[in-house]
C-alpha cells in the first residue's frame, strides 16, 4: 500500500496551529514565572532551621517529585473545584498544576545551588562582620545563581514539554489544536508530524540558544 | 638465531595534517633487545604503538614471523592501503605485549584479576590455570603479597610491575615498553628497571622506548635514534651512545649531562 501524503490539507489550517503554539508559550511562560516564585519560597522554607517550616516544604517537594503530572492536571481541574466550590478554567487548572509541580523542582534547584557553596564562604564573609542577609545577598547568591542556570533551564524545558498535557483539559495549546485540525482533515500523520516538528524546532533552537548562554556565563565565571 | 620476528617497511603515520612517522624500516631479530631513543615528539612512541596497532599505520607494512599482516584493500579515506580485521589484530596483540607509561590497569579489578583478565577472556584459560599462571608472574615481579589489593592502593612502581606481569601472563613473543618509567617518582624507577632487566636476561625479544639512557646502554643489543619521524642513526649501544657518528645524535646525547656509561 502506498500512502498518499497530503501536507497542504494540514497547512490550510496552519492558523489554528499557530493559535495553539501561542497557547503553549503563554501557558509555559505564566507557569515558569509562578513556579519560580513557589520554588523560591519552598527553597527558603527547606533551608530554614525551623522544623515547622522545613517539614511541610519537604513533603510538598516529595509529593510532586513522586506523582505524575497528569494526576495533578486532573486533580486541579476535577477534584479541587469540588472542595473549594469554584470551578476553574482549563487554563487556570493547568497553570496551578504546572506552577506547583515545577515549583517543587525549582525549589530543589535553588536549594541545591545554595548548599553547594562551601562553608568557607560563609565563614569568610562572617569574619568580615557581614550579617546573614548580607552574606546571602553579596556572597552566596551571586555564586549559587551561576550554578543554578543549567538545571533551571533543564527544568523549564521539561515544563514546556509538559504543557502538552493541558490538551486533556481541552485547553487550546498546540496538541489540542492539532487534535481539532485532525478532526477536520482526518490527516493524523501529517497533523501530528507537523506539530512534533514545531515542538522540535522551538525546543531544539531554544536549548541550543541556552547552551550558548550557559557557555558564555561559564566562561565569564 | 638470526631469525627476524618483526619486519617494518616504509612505516608512515599521520594524525590529520601532522606527519609524525615518515618512512621507517626496522627489523627485529628473535631474542634481540632494542632501545628506541629520541627527543619528545620525534615519533618514537608512535612507531612502537604502530607495532601492535595501538595506532593504525597510515602507510607501510608490518610482518610478524615472515607473515605480512592485513590484506590489500581500500582504507576509510578510499586510498589504497592495508585493512586489518579486529580478530587479526586481537590475535596479534596476544603475541606482541605492551607496557604503557600510564600503566592502564583496570581499577575495578584486584591485582590478581588484572593479570588473569586476558587469560580468561582472550585465551579462554580455565580460572584455576589462569590464577596459577597469574600468581607465578606476580611472584616474578615481586608482588606476591599484593594479589588482592586494588591498583589504586599501590605505588606507581608497583602498578607498573603489575602491568608488566599482566603483559607477561599472555606469553607474548615480543614485549613493547612505552616509556615505562616516565611517569614514576624517581625513587620508584629502580624497581621497575630491575624487573625489565631480569626479563632481558631471559633472552626475550623486547623493544623499549625510553629516556633512561644509562639503562638503555646496559639493556640494549641495539639502539635506534629517532629524529623527525625517521631512523636517524642505529647501531650497537656502544656505537650510538658512546661514539655517535652523526651530529644530530651527538647534540641529543650532549643534553644528558650525567651519563651512566
Amino acid at each position: 500500500m502506498k500512502y498518499q501524503w497530503d501536507f497542504p490539507a494540514v497547512w490550510n489550517h496552519f492558523d489554528m496551529l499557530v493559535v495553539g503554539l501561542v497557547g503553549t508559550v503563554k501557558l509555559a511562560a505564566v507557569s515558569i514565572v509562578l513556579g519560580v516564585i513557589v520554588g523560591f519560597v519552598v527553597a527558603l522554607m527547606r533551608l530554614s532551621h525551623r522544623r515547622m517550616l522545613r517539614a511541610p516544604a519537604t513533603a510538598f517537594v516529595e509529593f510532586y517529585r513522586n506523582t505524575p503530572p497528569l494526576v495533578h492536571f486532573f486533580w486541579f481541574f476535577y477534584a479541587l473545584p469540588i472542595m473549594v466550590g469554584v470551578s476553574f478554567e482549563p487554563f487556570t487548572a493547568a497553570v496551578l498544576a504546572l506552577s506547583t509541580q515545577s515549583g517543587a523542582f525549582y525549589a530543589e534547584v535553588f536549594r541545591g545551588g545554595i548548599v553547594s557553596i562551601e562553608g568557607g564562604q560563609w565563614e569568610g564573609a562572617k569574619a568580615l562582620g557581614m550579617s546573614y542577609r548580607e552574606v546571602m545577598r553579596r556572597v552566596i547568591l551571586p555564586q549559587a545563581l551561576r550554578r543554578m542556570v543549567a538545571p533551571f533551564v533543564d527544568r523549564s524545558f521539561e515544563l514546556t514539554k509538559t504543557t502538552a498535557l493541558a490538551s486533556s483539559l481541552a485547553y487550546a495549546e498546540l496538541l489540542y489544536q492539532a487534535m481539532q485540525v485532525n478532526s477536520i482533515t482526518f490527516r493524523p500523520m501529517e497533523v501530528y508530524t507537523t506539530i512534533a516538528l514545531m515542538y522540535f524546532i522551538v525546543l531544539f533552537a531554544a536549548s541550543n540558544l541556552m547552551r550558548l548562554v550557559e557557555y558564555r556565563l561559564a566562561r565569564a565565571g | 638465531m638470526d631469525e627476524t620476528v618483526i619486519r617494518i617497511r616504509n612505516l608512515h603515520k599521520r594524525f590529520g595534517d601532522l606527519h609524525v612517522v615518515k618512512g621507517v624500516d626496522l627489523e627485529v631479530k628473535r631474542g634481540e633487545r632494542i632501545a628506541i631513543i629520541g627527543a619528545s615528539g620525534s615519533g618514537k612512541s608512535t612507531i612502537l604503538r604502530c607495532l601492535n596497532f595501538m595506532e593504525m599505520p597510515s602507510e607501510g607494512t608490518i610482518e610478524l614471523d615472515g607473515k605480512l599482516l592485513g590484506t590489500e584493500g581500500r582504507a576509510n579515506g578510499g586510498r589504497a592501503g592495508r585493512i586489518y580485521s579486529e580478530a587479526e589484530l586481537c590475535a596479534l596483540r596476544t603475541r606482541v605485549g605492551m607496557v604503557f607509561q600510564q600503566f592502564n590497569l583496570f581499577p575495578h579489578m584486584t591485582v590478581l584479576e588484572n593479570v588473569m583478565e586476558g587469560l580468561i577472556t582472550v585465551k579462554r584459560t580455565s580460572k584455576d590455570a589462569a590464577r596459577s599462571r597469574a600468581t607465578e608472574q606476580l611472584t616474578k615481579v615481586g608482588l606476591l603479597d599484593k594479589l588482592d589489593a586494588y591498583p589504586g592502593k599501590l605505588s606507581g612502581g608497583q602498578q607498573q610491575r603489575v602491568a608488566i606481569a599482566r603483559a607477561l601472563a599472555m606469553e607474548p613473543e615480543v614485549l613493547l615498553f612505552d616509556e615505562p618509567t616516565s611517569s614514576l617518582d624517581p625513587e620508584l624507577v629502580g624497581e621497575v628497571l630491575r624487573v625489565i632487566h631480569a626479563l632481558a636476561e631471559e633472552g626475550r625479544t623486547m623493544l623499549l622506548v625510553t629516556h633512561e639512557l644509562g639503562f638503555a646502554y646496559h639493556f640494549a643489543d641495539r639502539v635506534v635514534f629517532i629524529a623527525d619521524g625517521v631512523v636517524h642513526e642505529t647501531g650497537t649501544a656502544d656505537e650510538v651512545l658512546k661514539h655517535p657518528k652523526r651530529e644530530r645524535t651527538q647534540a641529543f646525547l650532549a643534553r644528558f649531562t650525567e651519563r651512566a656509561f
Partner: protein
Amino acid sequence: MEYTWDFTVIVDAFPVLLRGLLVTVELWVLAFAIGLSLGFAVSLGRISGRPWVNAPAIGYVEIFRNTPVLVQLIWFYYAFPIVLGQQLSPFTAAALGLTLNTSAYCAEIFRGGIVSIARGQWEGAKAIGMTRAMTMRRVILPQVMKRMLPAFTNRGIELAKVTSLASLLAVNEIMYQGRLLSSTYYRPLEILTVVALVYFVLIYPGSYLSARLERRLAARD
C-alpha cells in the same frame, strides 16, 4: 461550604484500581527493560566515529528529547499505523512510544558514562588482545555502572510517572481506571487523591533509594 468526604467509594473501587496498577507496572517494566537495551545500542551509535552511524543516532536522541512524550504517544497511536498499514492496540502504541522515548534518554546516560572512562582503559584492554565488545563488557561497563545508577533510577522514576499518559490513549492503567471510576461514582476528589497516593507509594521508594545512592557515591569521591 463544607465538603463531606466519602472514602467508602474507594473500598468499592479498589479492586479496579489495583487491576489498573498491574497494567501500569506491566507498561513500566516492558518500556524500561527494552528502553535500556535499545538505549545502549543507540549510545554505541552516538560514540561511533562513523558519521553515517553517528548522525542518525544523534537525530533519534534529539527528536525524542525535544518533543513532548504525549505528542509521541499520540503520534504512535494515530499517525504511525497509517504508514504501518495496520492498527495498533492502545497498549502497543503506548509501550512503543514509552520504550523509544526511554531509550533516547538512556542512550545519553550510557554515552556520558562511557566517554567518562579514560582512553588508557581501552588501550590497556586492547594491548592484551581484548576485542571492543569484550572491553566494553569486562572493563568499561563495570566501571561506569555504579556511576550511572542514579541517572538510570531517575529515568525509571520519570518513566513510572509518564506511564500515566497512556490513559489518554485509553490504555486501562491506573490513571484511566481512576478517571473512569471518578465519573461513575462522581467522586473525583476522593478517587483522584487516592490515585495520586498510589503513585506516590509506588514511586517514592525508588526515589528515596536513588537519593541515598547519590549521596553515598558523592561521599566516596
